[in-house]
Structures are given as C-alpha cells and as structure tokens.
C-alpha cells in the first residue's frame, strides 16, 4: 500500500514537473548553465521521492541516504501499533484461555486410563520439540522485553538493571535464534508427513474440534488444530527467523527501509506466534488430561489416543498388530490411580 501511494505521488510529481517545464517560457539562451539557479531543493526532492539519496565517497553506501523520513512511520508502528497488536493478541488470548478454562476446565479422559500406553513421540522428536520450545520461550520473553520492557519492567527495576538484563536478553535472543531456527526446520521435515491437510480435518473442523461439549471428532496422528499449530510454527517460525536475520546482519541483504519492514514483519508475526503458542501450551498442559505425556514421556494412554486420535490409533494398531503392541501396564500411572 505504502509503496503504491508513493508511486502515485511520484507519478503525480513527475507530471507536475513536466507540465511546469512545458509551461515555463523558453529561456533566453538555451546554452546557459546556471548551477546556482538550478540548485536542488530539499522540499521538492522529498515531495518527488520518499527519501533523499546522493553520492558519498566512503564505501559505506548506507550513508548515502541523506534524509529518510519514513523512520517516523516506523516509530509510530513500534511505539503504538505494535503495542496494541501485541497487547490485544497476547492479553486477549490469555483472557480467552482463562475464560475457557473456567468454563470447561480440563478436558478429561472420558473413558479413563486404560493403563496401556502407546509411543506417540520418540526421543528425537521430543528433543527437537523441547529445544525449539525452550528457545521459543526465551526468544519470546526477550523479544517482548524489547517492545514492552520499557513501559512495564524498566520502571520497576531501574535503568541500569534493565539495561543489564536487556543486554543479556539481546545476546540470548541473537544466539538462541540459531537452535530455534534449526528446530523449526527439523519440525518441518520431521512432521510434514502427518500434517498434510486431508478430509478428516474438514470433519474435525466442522465439529469445532470438540472444543464445545464432549464430542471427539476422529483424527489421524495430528488433528486439524495441531496441523494449524504445525503450520503456524513452520511458516511463522520461518518468517520470524528470516526477518530476524535480516535485522541481525544489518545491510547484508537490505537497506534501512527493508529493515524497517523486516522489523514490522518480525514483530507482528512474533506477537501472534506467542499468542498462538499460549493456546498450544494450554492445551498441552492443564487444558487436556493426558496430553502432556505425549511430549513428556513420549507415550500416551491408549484411551487418550482413542478419544483424540482414533484414526491414528487404528493405523498404528493395523500397522503393528495388537499382539506386538501390547503396551506394558504403566505402574506409576496405575499407582496414581
């Protein structure tokens, strides 16, 4: 949009200039070159173009931009828009979760625990998940600090402590971006097979995922909600990673305008990402009985699997045969019961 507006402005400016030239009286002598009289003017340049750029002899070409007033728009975004988006997304999500939890409480295993378990995520999968998750949490906190720390945290702990913390947060943010990015890539490769949308998802979605009431729409290994999380992680993670690296390696790929856009993308995607992840964390922990085990021990109760991922359970059963997969009684679980 902005660039289109700019284009329009440019085009209009160019036409106006042409008209001016056309309307101006023919100079007395066509040969006269008067550099003083033909001097460029700042306001005119700013009207015609969105920035003023020239020539500098130093190799640092970014310094050739003399004035770029768009910083003002970016500042508005960073100080106002982003805080609204972030605030609404994150606080809104938290509110939804709280209300939902109060209304519905934990989604129980309706058929109770069978005592038999089935492997849902192997060690590698869990390692990748937790590596990414830990990175994400630190990245999220250190990122939120950049946007919300100054109004929220700084007044509480003072300039020095806040700066010290933010400095470490920045290092953490920069360095942990690497394992996070690797995690996102592995998640993408590792679980792509189970996350291709299919017909079951339509049904699952039509029935609202069973969020309301006690419905359990059938699902394969990943239900449509989880697939959504998967794609949000892959696409959102990819976007924050890419835009983050643009910011981390300034001027390698783009100029200041590009970095402003990268920062906007990074920030918006990140706050939405955080909001979504809050829901993910909720469902994976206190939101649903038996769900955490999937990423905890890696094994889930067969009943849990039947309720939430019936089609997957059927597949697993069919693939391995009931005899082979006679899961061991879970003593700890039994004891707890």
């Amino acid at each position: 949009m902005a660039s289109f507006a700019r284009f329009v402005r440019l085009a209009v400016g160019a036409w106006a200039l042409l008209l001016l030239i056309g309307a101006a009286p023919v100079p007395v002598s066509a040969q006269q070159v008067n550099p003083t009289a033909s001097s460029v003017h700042e306001q005119q340049l700013l009207q015609e173009l969105d920035r003023i750029q020239g020539r500098v002899s130093i190799p640092d070409q970014r310094s050739s931009v003399l004035v770029q007033p768009q910083g003002r728009e970016w500042r508005e975004f960073h100080n106002v828009t982003l805080r609204w988006i972030g605030g609404v997304a994150i606080i809104g999500m938290l509110a939804v979760i709280v209300i939902y939890y109060l209304a519905r409480g934990m989604v129980r295993l309706e058929s109770g625990r069978s005592g038999r378990t089935i492997v849902r995520f192997n060690v590698f999968e869990r390692f990748v998940h937790w590596m990414t998750a830990v990175c994400f949490i630190i990245l999220a906190l250190s990122g939120l600090n950049i946007t919300f720390g100054r109004p929220l945290l700084l007044p509480l702990i003072g300039l020095e402590a806040f700066s010290e913390w933010s400095q470490w947060a920045k290092y953490a943010h920069n360095y942990l971006s690497f394992p996070f990015t690797i995690g996102v890539v592995l998640i993408f490769l590792m679980w792509i097979a189970g996350n291709i949308p299919n017909k079951a998802d339509v049904e699952w979605a039509r029935r609202g995922g069973g969020l309301i009431g006690h419905d359990h729409p059938p699902a394969y290994r990943f239900n449509a909600g989880q697939k959504a999380i998967y794609w949000i992680v892959v696409i959102g993670g990819g976007l924050v990673a890419a835009s983050g690296y643009v910011l981390m390696f300034p001027f390698y790929t783009t100029g200041i305008e590009g970095m402003q856009i990268a920062q906007i993308v990074h920030a918006i995607v990140a706050v939405l990402f955080i909001a979504v992840m809050l829901a993910h964390i909720y469902i994976g922990t206190i939101g649903m009985e038996g769900a955490f085990e999937a990423m905890g021990s890696g094994e889930v109760d067969v009943n849990w699997a039947r309720e939430h991922h019936s089609l997957w359970l059927d597949e697993e059963m069919a693939r391995t045969g009931p005899n082979d997969t006679q899961p061991q009684p879970r003593h700890a679980a039994s004891a707890a019961q």
Partner: protein, 980 residues
C-alpha cells in the same frame, strides 16, 4: 518574519539571568560560557555581520583533559591558502586542534586536510629511523652511518662524473629557510640541478606572468576576491584544491551578487556553485580566451585608456585575436559563440573582474602561453592592479611560492636574480664567500650560468645517451628531500631511471613512491631513506599564495629519530666540508641552523623581490597580532604599536630594510595607492624601448615605460626605469643617501658605483630614497602583451601532443623539436608519430587529472592519515555515463585504463558521472603504491606503507613539455578504458 515555527519557545527570549534563574545547581558560568562560545562560533562565522560587533569566546576555559596545554600556531602544510593551525600541546604531545579564529585568511576554517593535520605528526606509520636497502631488504642504519655513506657516495659521483651528476630535488613543503638552504647547498655543491614542485605546479605561471608584468605571482589575494563583481575560474577547482579559499569566493559571490563563472571540462564542486558553467574541451584555454577577447574587441569593451598607458604590444595581439572568430572557437573548444559572448561581456564590463587559475592552465605543453593569454585578457579589460581584479593564481603547496622565491629552481639563484655572473657575485657578497670559490665548485663558469635540468626530465637525464644530455655526464645520483615521484609524468619510463641510478636518497617523513617504485624497478641496494620531520616539527616562514609570509612555530619536537630539514642540510654540508663557509653568518646549535638567522640572511640579499623587510621579529609580531588585521583589506590599524599599518604577512614586495617599515604589497601593480601603502606599477624588466618593424620596412622605437600612469604620490609622474645610483644622481636624490649607504654601494662596485641598482644595493639606500619620493624601486613600465623572447611572444593555440582532434594538428601543431634545459624536447616528433600511428583511434578518450580534497600532491602523507584515507579508499577514473555504457563499465566496477605510451595500463575503479563530458575521462593524481595492476605494498619498509594505495595517474600520462619551463603535460593525454 522568515522563520516559521510550529513550536514557539518564548523562554529563550528572556535575558540570560532569567534563563539561569531556572537552572538547578547554578551552572551559571558554564551556561554563560556556552552562550559566549556561541557568539564566537556562529556569529564570527558570518561574513555579513561586522566582526567588531561580535563577542568572541573569552579564552574559553579548557576542560580538565586539556588543562595546562600550551597553544602554538603554525601553518597548514596542505595548500597555498595559508591557514593557521592552532595546536594544543601537553607534555610534548599534540593533543588537539582548535579553530584559528584570529587568522584573517582562514578565520577558523579548515578543509578535510587542515582539520586532520594533527594525525600526520603522531602517525604510527611514519619513518622512525634511517634505512638503507641491502640485498633488497630495508635495513636500519644510524644517522651517522647514513650521512657518512651517502656523503661518500655523492663525493664519489662528484669525483667521477662531476657535480652536475647529482640531482638535488627539494620541496615546496620546506619552509623558506629550508628551501633557501637547499638551494644554497646546490650552489656550494656546484650545480643548478636544484628543483622543486613548482616545476610541475606553476613554473609556467612564474615564467609567463613574470614575462608579462614583472613578477610571477598571484597579484591580489584570496581575501581580495571578495571585492570582485565577476569571478572567472579557468583551469582550477578551488573547492577541492583550495577549499578555504571558497569561503572568500562564495561570500564575495553572495555579497557582491557577483558573476561566478567556471570554465572547465568538468562540472566540478566549484562549478556546482557557479552562476555560469561553461564546458570546454581540455587543452583549448587559449582559444577560449581569444574567443572572449574577440567579442571584447568586436564590441569595444576593452579598456582603451589602460591599454594606452600601461600595455605594450596590443596591435600585435589584435592580429592574433582576429583569427579567432566565434565559429573557429566553437570548432576548437566546443563552446557556442553566444555563451562565450555572454561570459566575455560580464568579464569586460562588470568590473572589477578577476581571473582565477591553477594547474588547469599551467600543467600543459602550452602552459606558459596559457597563462600569458590569461594575463592579456586581464590587461585588455584593465583588470589588473585594482581591488577585486587581477590574476588570482592559486598556487599548490603551502610554500611553493616561497620555495620558488628563494630560488629552489634550475634557472635562478634566490629571488629571481638569475644565473648570470652578476647574480652569482651578488650572492657571494651576501653570503660573504669568495665568488672564485663558488666558481671553483662548478665544472665550469659556463655550467655555473646554465639552467639546470627540470625535475620532469630527471629520469631522462639518467637514461638518455650521454651525448644528448648537455652536461659532463648523466645524472648518477638523486637526493630527494620532500618530493613525490608519482606526481611526475611517465612513471613507466621513470622505472628505468630508478634502476640505472647509482644512489637514491629519500629524505621525507614517509618512504614515498620513490621507495616502492625503486624496489619495483629491481633495485637491491643504493637506496637510503632518511626520516625528516614534518613542518609542524620545524619553525620558520612560509609564503601563502597571496605572497604573505607567515611564521610557524615548532609545535612539537621531531618525532622518533626524524630531523628538521635544516639539520639534514647542515649535516650534508658538514660532510662535504663546506659547512663553515655555507653557514658563515648563521647560528648553528647541535647541527641545527637557526631559522631566524637564515631568514635574516635572506632579508639581506632579497632586494629584487622585496623580501628584505620581513624580519623574523616582524613576522612573529604578525602571528601574535593576527586578530588586528582586517579581513577584507588585510591591514592592521595604523596606530597599533607592533603591526601598525602593516598588511597581514607583509606580502612581498616589502621594500627596504625592516626599519623602513614598508607595510607589504597586498595588490601588485596598484597605482591607486602610494608605494609606502602597498602601491606599485608594472615592472620594466625587458628593456626601456623596443625597435619595431613597420609594414613599410622602416623601424621605429617604442618605449616600454608607462605613459602617464604612476602610483599615487609618485614624484615622477610618468614611466621611469629602475633606480640605480646613476639615476638617483640624475634626479639629484643621491644626496639623500647616508655615508654608510654610499660606502656599501661603493664597495659593491668599486669600479662603477653608478651601475649599482636597487636590487644589488645591500645597504637598501637606493630603495629607501626611491620610496621616500613615492617611487617604486624597480621602475614604472608597461606590461607586455607581446612578450618578445618567449617561444610564442603572442600566445598561439597548439593542440596537445596527444589530441583526439587530429584534424586540427595541421593548423595548430606543437612547437618543433628543440633542446631545452640540457635535454631534447621532441614533442613535435611524438605528435607526428601519434598521428601516423592513429593513436587517437586506439585511445579515443581524453584523459585529464586533478585533485581530491582529501589528499595532497603525491598523497603518501595524506593517504597514511586514517581520517583522510577512510574518505577515499580507491583510485578511480571518472567517465561519462554514455562512454561507460558503450564499454559496459559499471559505476564502482573495476576497469583497466590503457595509455598512449609504453603500453601503459592501470587498474582502478570507475566512477560513472555526468561531472565529466562525453569523450573525456578524469583521474585524481594522488594515488600511488600500485603499478600496472600490481599492489606494491610489500615494497615499503615494514609498517610504513600508506593505508590506501592505488594506481598513479602518471602511469598513464605521456610525453609533453612546455618549451619555456620544462613543465610536464599532466592535463591532456589520451586513454582507453575497458571493464576489468
């Protein structure tokens, strides 16, 4: 109201007290100082407000870091403007630079170079100790060993080949005292092969301008340009070469609403501020000027009365001008007639008009003729000898005017006395050495009176067959103290010279390209490097372009093992065994001659140029009282006890002994002032009358003395010849000479005291008496439009040796081959061969060269300064977008530039820009340390390589020498460019 505000800040309208009242903690003093600092900074910066009404920061208190620092003043070493450098020194370390508000020349300002000179002194990359090349390795030696070995080798050359085989290449970087002693060293050694940068800078100006009206120097001053109604810059780019001068040019342009005309092949940073920019083809200055003159004569815009009274040879000139019709001018220069007519009209009718030039006119095979044509244009319009007018010739180095004046030159002894017997006798009297002794130092009396070899030809003096070099033997050794090698054209050929030398001595703060190219040439030994102090570590006088002398203090002691120029010269003289004779009247302490004493010796012998009144005491008083001089007139109030009535820096000529208190001459040839107020007349230097042939075959004698024009208050109200005892007698003024003065005169020429003239009279009596009668000691003559005696008495256009316009060569050929300055000048043959070989087809682009603001000269010193080097990190060539597109050359991309001679080639970056016209390319000449695409960083002694290296423009430049001076052709040659 011109100010539009969205946020009013009314509190600022309150008094200082009010604004302080609201301040917690009572920062009154600090706030007050800040406010006064503001006045000092911003308001003094304003040319439009009377300086007197502006408060300066009261010796602003220095912060704790600079507490206890001493302030010392010297002069910037980077161009001829003469900016004062104010240094803060603490514990022998130069810790800071402050603006020099008091200097009437720079008024606090600097350019990139001036604002960073501190780094030069404390540079990590300076030479630290003497070194010599042993088996291809740079090896440390002691000063004693170095001087001994160098001395022995030079004496060996002298023994074998004679004194002329040692080439003494001095420097415009030296103080007057250093340059003078260097010339004196040459004289005592027995050679006139003593030269310096003026050769490749303004030698053509010195010769051409002096041959027109007496002295070859800027007639007015930077400051005086403020008075001009029309400023024409032809062959100069002061915005980059003399940035601080632009303060005067631009403020003048604004205050006078002056025409600011720039005629140049490039739309330079100067041209960007012009009111009229004229693009010309390089190498056509004379047609441009004649084209203007054609319109002037056609319209009767010339100053007829001025010409009648003060100019000789107008009719001869008219004949030449008439050939340059607008059509022919456009054909040759590319400038449309209408545009030139407009420029000519402004120049001739909106007066005073000044003509400004620098190396764009001088660095050419027709350099002398170019500057002559410029002078003629000024004469024709009566624009000489007046405020706001004149030939404002911007010299290059900080002391190139001074080094020229003190005779560090091949054609003269100090102060333009020449080389004739009378000149040698004059200086032997000043030096109090026997003339016969000096003569015995030379190969012969004839060689003693023969001009030396120009530095532009040094390598040919080494490599040409012996019979082509008109001295006993080829040059065998070069002793270079403060001169770049990469500023000399034809570098590929100079490598042969470097290889063939028996000995090369480089005395400099940096190893320079002499060292890196000598190694590249294959030398394994016979090279010495002596670390010499920068001028900030030396004291002495320097002459700015406006002829003002300024005394620079020593800011810090020489760093590392480096030595003052004067000490190096003394050590060499001592080694040669003539130090006692040479320094007879100069105090020497710890091998260091005292600069003040050297200047006093110059004062005693420099009557011809009026360097006689500038005693060290007077110069120091000027530096101390800088603030008292008016910025526009450069004069101090008459009632000042120390510098009353003086012009700043006592611009020469400053007649008589210091006791005469002549104020100096701010504008040369200004008849509107009394000679004791700096007035003057044209100098009759070329005889009193001339026999002219008339068309009917008869002859007539024409007087060369002024006709009815004289300086204000002159007792003789017409032209008059120079003063001698005889002429004083004729006037009856000889009785005013004191007995002591008469005794000195009688001693100078016991046989014929009547012949003793104003310039030979060591008593100063003749000058004193002439001045007392309001007369100029040198006489009152006419300026010459016809400078008989020069190769082209009336300037004639001659195409550059390498020109793309081969069609014009038949009509405008270069001068025939000849022998000049001991070596052949085969320009004609070279031009002819180039035409026959079709060089212009293979190399279709005109190549010109010039300066960048960040660097100076050969650039090794400035390229070593990180603050400057960062701003220009790559050698480049400017090329027009159309030419670039044809060749697939991209802005910032690498290109190979190939030249017309020696299969020369150089690799550099392309700067694609409309600054330069189509068919022309331009390079800066400050780079060095690469050769033909090869990085020579390893050739420098470890740790002394400049930060930025690059190809030298002179790798590509080609043959071409001005017949009158030996000036090289650095501005017009041909090249081809291809993407690398």
């Amino acid at each position: 109201m011109l100010i539009k505000r969205t946020h009013g800040r009314s509190e600022r309208h309150g008094s200082i007290a009010e604004s302080l009242a609201g301040q917690a903690g009572g920062l009154d003093r600090r706030t007050f100082l800040r406010k006064s600092g503001l006045a000092g900074g911003a308001l003094a910066a304003l040319g439009t407000m009377p300086i007197g009404s502006v408060r300066k920061a009261e010796a602003a208190t220095t912060g704790p870091l600079t507490a206890g620092a001493t302030v010392r003043k010297s002069i910037c070493t980077h161009c001829s403007v003469g900016c004062t450098v104010t240094a803060e020194v603490l514990n022998g370390v130069w810790i800071g630079q402050e603006p020099s508000w008091e200097s009437p020349i720079n008024r606090g300002s600097h350019c990139a170079k001036g604002a960073s000179v501190r780094e030069l002194v404390h540079s990590e990359r300076r030479l630290r100790y003497p070194m010599k090349l042993v088996d291809g390795q740079w090896t440390r030696v002691s000063w004693d060993a170095a001087i001994n070995e160098i001395g022995d080798k030079l004496l060996g050359v002298r023994e074998k080949s004679g004194p002329e085989s040692v080439y003494w290449l001095g420097s415009a970087k030296m103080t007057n005292e250093g340059a003078y002693l260097f010339r004196k060293l040459g004289a005592f050694w027995g050679t006139n092969n003593t030269d310096h940068q003026a050769r490749i800078c303004h030698s053509t100006t010195v010769t051409g301008v002096a041959n027109t009206w007496g002295y070859g120097a800027m007639t007015n001053s930077y400051n005086d340009i403020r008075n001009a109604k029309t400023q024409v810059v032809l062959g100069g780019n002061p915005a980059e070469a003399h940035p601080v001068s632009l303060q005067h040019l631009l403020e003048g342009k604004e205050l006078q609403k002056a025409n600011f005309i720039v005629i140049d092949p490039r739309l330079t940073r100067t041209a960007a501020h012009a009111t009229e920019y004229v693009r010309m083809r390089p190498g056509t200055d004379i047609p441009v000027l004649y084209g203007m003159m054609w319109h002037i004569l056609q319209n009767g815009w010339e100053d007829k009365e001025f010409i009648r009274q003060r100019v000789y040879g107008f009719d001869d000139l008219r004949k030449e001008v008439e050939k340059w019709t607008p059509d022919e001018v456009e054909r040759v220069t590319g400038i449309p007639g209408e545009q030139l007519k407009r420029v000519a009209k402004m120049f001739a009718t909106e007066k005073p008009a000044t003509l400004i030039w620098a190396m764009g006119q001088t660095q050419k095979t027709v350099g002398t003729a170019n500057v002559r044509a410029s002078c003629i244009a000024l004469l024709m319009t009566g624009n000489v000898g007046k405020a706001g007018a004149g030939a404002n010739i911007f010299r290059g180095h900080d002391n190139v005017q001074g080094a020229t004046d003190v005779g560090l030159d091949i054609v003269t002894l100090p102060f333009y006395y020449g080389l004739a017997e009378g000149a040698w006798k004059h200086w032997s009297r000043v030096w109090e050495v026997d003339y016969e002794y000096l003569k015995s130092r030379f190969d012969s009396k004839q060689m003693m009176e023969t001009p030396g070899i120009p530095l532009t030809r040094w390598f040919e003096a080494v490599t040409l067959p012996k019979d082509q070099v008109a001295q006993k033997d080829n040059v065998r050794a070069v002793f270079v103290q403060g001169h770049a090698s990469n500023s000399i054209t034809r570098i590929p050929e100079s490598l042969n010279g470097l290889k063939a030398l028996e000995l090369l001595v480089i005395a400099d703060p940096h190893p320079t390209t002499w060292a890196s190219l000598a190694v590249e040439a294959g030398r394994k030994d016979g090279v010495y490097i002596l670390p010499v102090a920068t001028q900030f570590e030396c004291k002495g006088s320097r002459v700015a372009s406006n002829r003002s002398l300024q005394w620079g203090e020593q800011i810090v002691k020489p760093i590392f093992e480096s030595k003052d120029d004067l000490e190096v010269i003394y050590l060499m003289a001592k080694k040669f065994g003539f130090a006692d004779q040479m320094f007879k009247n100069i105090k020497v302490e710890n091998n260091l001659p005292e600069a003040e004493d050297v200047l006093r010796e110059m004062n005693r012998g420099s009557w011809s140029t009026g360097y006689c009144g500038q005693s060290p005491e007077r110069l120091k008083a000027h530096m101390k009282n800088q603030a008292k001089f008016d910025m526009l007139t450069m004069r101090a109030p008459k009632d000042d006890p120390e510098v009353g009535g003086d012009y700043y820096g006592l611009p020469w000529p400053c007649w008589g002994s210091p006791e005469v208190k002549h104020p100096g001459t701010p504008l040369l040839y200004n008849t509107n002032l009394h000679v004791m107020d700096g007035g003057g007349t044209f100098r009759p230097r070329f005889g009193l009358e001339r026999e002219e042939k008339l068309p009917d075959g008869t002859t007539r004698k024409v007087s060369l003395l002024a006709d009815g024009s004289y300086s204000l208050g002159s007792a003789i109200q017409d032209g008059y010849p120079e003063f001698t005892l005889a002429s004083l007698k004729k006037l009856g003024w000889n009785t005013e000479l004191t007995e002591a003065e008469m005794a000195t005169i009688n001693k100078i020429n016991p046989a014929n005291p009547d012949a003793v003239s104003w310039s030979l009279d060591l008593s100063g009596g003749i000058q004193r008496v002439a001045l007392a009668h309001g007369c100029v000691p040198y006489g009152n003559g006419k300026a010459r439009m016809n400078a008989f005696g020069l190769p082209d008495p009336i300037p004639v256009h001659r195409e550059p040796i390498y020109t793309p316009r081969v069609d014009l060569i038949a009509k405008y050929p270069t001068l025939p081959d000849a022998k000049q300055f001991r070596v052949p000048n085969i320009g004609f043959s070279v031009q002819k061969t180039a035409v026959e070989k079709g060089i212009a087809k293979q190399f279709p682009l005109i190549l010109s060269s010039g300066r960048l603001v960040e660097y100076e000269g050969g650039g090794e010193e400035t390229r070593t300064n990180p603050w400057l080097a960062e701003l220009q990190q790559d050698m480049f060539i400017e090329i027009n977008p159309a030419d670039a597109a044809e060749r697939g050359v991209k802005d910032g991309g690498w290109v190979w530039v190939t030249g017309a001679e020696n299969n020369s080639r150089a690799r550099m970056k392309a700067l694609v820009t409309e600054r330069i016209g189509k068919g022309v390319a331009w390079m800066p000449f400050h780079f060095g340390g690469w050769f033909a695409g090869k990085d020579l960083r390893g050739n420098y002694p470890k740790g002394t390589d400049p930060i930025v290296l690059g190809e030298s423009a002179n790798t590509i430049t080609s043959y071409g020498y001005d017949p009158a001076t030996g000036m090289q052709e650095a501005k017009v040659t041909l090249c081809q460019i291809a993407a690398a």
